[in-house]
């Protein structure tokens, strides 16, 4: 990056960097909002059990068809395990996609200010003082 020191140039540069940074924070907040809105659903093969997971893997809903109550408890337990896991896997897939998009969007952040940038300015200050 060309680093000719000047107060005006630097002010502009700071504005641009802050602008990029604010944009990154907005993108981050959107991703967070997206994750909060994720709904992952699971349904058993026979449709008798359903479950819903949020974007953090928390189970928010489970529903049992009356016919599900005729299963023996170990079979019902097994199917409940499966339907909860399916709902979680579904929301995990969605949050991963959101995070991948986030990474892609924030990939082109401006490079951090380097040594040259700082030393150019120190020299300039020294010259102005001297």
């Amino acid at each position: 990056m060309h680093t000719t020191p000047s107060p005006e140039g630097d002010a502009e540069l700071m504005e641009r960097i802050l602008g990029h940074y604010r944009k990154m924070m907005r993108t981050l907040r959107e991703a967070q909002g997206g994750i909060e809105a994720v709904v992952g659903r699971g349904e058993s093969a026979d449709g008798l059990l359903t479950a819903v997971s949020d974007g953090h893997g928390r189970i928010s809903e489970v529903a049992l068809d009356p016919r599900a109550m005729r299963l023996d408890r170990s079979e019902l337990g097994r199917r409940l395990t499966e339907v909860l896991r399916t709902a979680q896997a579904c929301s995990l897939k969605q949050t991963r996609e959101i995070k991948e998009r986030l990474l892609a969007e924030t990939d082109h952040m401006p490079q951090p200010l380097g040594e040259e940038f700082v030393s150019d300015r120190i020299e300039q200050i020294a010259r102005n003082l001297g």
Partner: protein, 125 residues
């Protein structure tokens, strides 16, 4: 409890600073060695009637739902609600155990305070 003000991001190099900050490299070393312990954490939650038990993995992934002998005497709505509740309790249990492991591993490290600090920082931006 240590005071929270003026925590150095890079960690204090002065041992006398005591519990003020955990050096970053110490945290990293701990994290690598503790990964097995952390991965092995499971959370257990039991519903109000005791007829539903849910086990989750460290990150909250459901591992097992076990129904007690009287579970099928519950009506299906109550049973469903108890599954939801037991899963939530299991996830809370896993989170508590994880935070306890972190606190034990690094003197002065408070995971909740880190979360609070991150939230304070991000509200400034």
């Amino acid at each position: 409890m240590a005071s929270r003000g003026g925590r150095e991001p890079g960690g204090s190099t002065d041992p006398a600073a005591g519990r003020e900050a955990a050096p970053a490299d110490e945290m990293l070393a701990w994290a690598e060695s503790a990964r097995e312990d952390l991965d092995g954490v499971t959370g257990l939650g039991e519903s109000a009637s005791g007829q539903v038990q849910v086990t989750v993995a460290a990150q909250g992934e459901v591992l097992d739902v076990t129904l007690g002998p009287r579970a099928l005497r519950l009506d299906r709505v109550t049973l469903a609600e108890e599954v939801v509740a037991a899963a939530a309790l299991a996830q809370q249990d896993a989170a508590l155990k994880t935070r306890a492991l972190m606190r034990e591993g690094i003197p002065g490290f408070d995971p909740d305070e880190v979360v609070a600090q991150v939230e304070r920082l991000s509200s400034l931006l």
